[in-house]
Symmetry: C2
Subunit: 405 residues, 2 copies
């Protein structure tokens, strides 16, 4: 029998490590012949666009290289399967492709939308007596998947963000004038990544002096008061803000139109920068960490990369044990020493749901997070991979563009 | 006798390494007693705000830590000395402070503006028979200082930019749809840092497909043609653009006003993003590498950090040999193997001047750079420091905020 692996949703630093984990587990499993990679997530299976991974990942060196390569080596997609009762065409295409290649297990690496695919496909397969198991392997830098303690990809994003915010704190404090630095961090609905900036406290850094999450109730008036209060204490004020907070003041949000007549969509960081400049007149800068948050594998968390590998391998074992319609998840046994277990749960518990940052970890005044958050985050960013470098830059594993058409 | 060290201008990853180089050279030089650090550049000497560095940098470990700490540990300033013939007050304050502390050499680490300070101070001292030597140690991520082959701080910035652009290339290519990614890189007048993105070619990456420098003649109409041409070849187009290019089309540049009535100053990256969206309607994103370019010491170039140390030490030796009004510079002896020499030149050759990226290293169509650039850049980004980590993040050296008031 053969198995297939696909990657879906937004890129992370760990999604390729899960691919390698699943691939190498399959290699050492008697009875598994080919391991197929699906190009661009489920789209590859729909279009019968599969590659035999053994032809591309040939050596242990290749696997190590792939583990330090960010993003999805097989490409990705944002494809939502239709309701099979309304439209089953695409399900038939998928099952045809799987049957044709003798594929009896599909590992789908993705976020909560991808778990919807896992759920729908496994339900369809069971209903139609198709001999294929569908297993979801989580990944997302947003850390917003339910049930699991955390998601692969999050730890590396958090390590990049913490490292970078620490450096920005150094950068922001060089001049003798008062300044405000606003750092906008990813997370449309959940504030996990923004909250994780609290870890720099453990290194004796007082920043971020203010942290705003989508889970809090952001008020522009209160924000101005917060800045005033903290500025009295800190010459170089540093603020971490989630891209997902909603400004309650229309004057910040809208109204900008460029010369093409397009409404200009600026991020909250830029909006708050303008607000601070207007109200305080001091030196102010906003910084978007942008896609670097999800692709800076040069400063990935070894814990994250290793766990991503393990959960990929565990997914293969679950499929072979006959499980289907499951999401593999981490269960935290202990913070110190940090111990996790990997178990499977029904994909219905993770699909289309979001796990928010706990309100009880936000300080009463809503401008920071408490030590429960610190204890939760710290283990996830530990350890560094020794990178293979080439010409002074990290080396990446590549599959030729022609293959990934 | 005593010496003093000050840091000036914008932060880099290497400026503290030059401080350590000068400090440790002074420690082993018979006849030098105290090594003073001036808080916030020349302002510290004007205000008599000096610290005895031996009280703060106590061990070899401290020195190693300081070498991996970005930004200016002593703070910085942007202070231009007046013409001494018009206003000599501040010069008298400076000379008083130096005399009072028995300081006979001042090492000033900074960019081309700081070399103006070196020049003016040494001229004044010589004219007034003050027994003090003034030596400039270059630093700037812009690499735009004259005479020197390159500036300390540039190599680390280039290594960060190359590493990050490589990762963004991975990130940008995951979906099957056409996309344009525009990366805005620092350099108001000189395009060195933007041009340095060409190094990723040596790792088999086709990007950046287009590179625009302030030294080229940017034309919006030509830009649109360039994008059209390259998009036919590359599904995920990646463009590196210097913040300093001037758009010739007013419709891109101006007109945005926020609800406070302020004119909104967006960077060229955002302007070109809007232009591409307007003309092509495809998926487009602009990314500003922002201050991370100058403070990401976690991925600094070992070559850069080591050279910054050496040029700091050489500055002390030059001062002790009686030189004054000089800037220490690198002379490149060979690309492969990479060999440099450190010599001193009159500060007048570096003060208030800018070295532009050579036009003959730009390709004839103005959209990329040639292999001469590659040969120049590659040695500067080689080698990695093994970082001392703490709690999963790089450890930084700190002087208490109270001291740096």
């Amino acid at each position: 029998m053969n198995i297939a692996i696909a990657q879906s949703g937004g890129p992370t630093c760990a999604i390729n490590s899960s691919l390698v984990g699943a691939f190498s587990e399959a290699l050492k499993t008697p009875g598994i012949d080919a391991v197929f990679g699906s190009i661009n997530g489920i789209e590859g299976i729909i279009k019968n666009n599969l590659i035999d991974l053994k032809n591309f990942i040939r050596t242990n060196d290749d696997m190590e290289l792939l583990k330090q390569t960010p993003s999805t080596v097989l490409g990705s997609c944002r494809y939502k399967l239709p309701d099979p009762d309304t439209d089953s065409t695409v399900y038939e295409q998928i099952m045809n492709c799987l049957r044709k290649h003798d594929i009896h297990a599909l590992l789908y690496i993705g976020g909560n939308d991808s778990m919807d695919t896992v759920l729908k496909l496994s339900d369809y397969a069971q209903k139609h007596n198709e001999d294929v198991r569908i297993i979801g392997i989580p990944k997302t830098i947003d850390n917003d998947l339910c049930v699991t303690d955390h998601t692969p990809g999050f730890g590396s994003a958090a390590k990049y963000v913490a490292t970078t915010v620490q450096e920005i704190v150094c950068d922001s404090s060089v001049y003798s004038v008062e300044s405000v630095t606003i750092i906008e961090i990813m997370g449309r609905h959940a504030g996990w990544l923004t909250a994780s900036t609290c870890v720099i406290r453990t290194n004796g850094v007082s920043a971020p002096h203010l942290i705003y999450l989508p889970e809090g109730n952001f008020s522009t008036a209160q924000f101005i008061e917060d800045v005033k209060r903290e500025q009295a204490k800190h010459k170089a004020l540093v603020i971490a803000v989630s891209e997902g907070i909603e400004l309650d003041d229309d004057s910040c949000r809208s109204g900008m139109v460029d010369n093409f007549g397009h409404k200009y969509l600026s991020g909250v960081g830029k909006q708050l920068e303008n607000l601070v400049r207007d109200k305080f007149g001091c030196k102010v800068r906003s910084i978007e960490l942008n896609v670097m948050q999800r692709c800076s594998s040069h400063i990935c968390s070894k814990t994250d990369i290793d766990e991503a590998f393990e959960i990929g391998a565990a997914g293969v074992r679950a499929a072979l044990a006959g499980e289907t319609g499951k999401t593999m998840v981490f269960k935290r046994i202990s913070d110190v020493p940090y111990i996790i277990d990997i178990v499977s749960v029904p994909a219905s518990e993770t699909a289309n749901k979001e796990k928010m940052f706990p309100k009880e970890w936000i300080t009463p005044d809503g401008t920071n997070v408490n030590d429960n958050a610190l204890r939760y985050f710290l283990p996830l960013i530990q350890g560094e991979n020794v990178l293979r470098m080439r010409n002074g830059m990290p080396e990446h594993f590549k599959i030729k563009e022609e293959v990934l058409k």
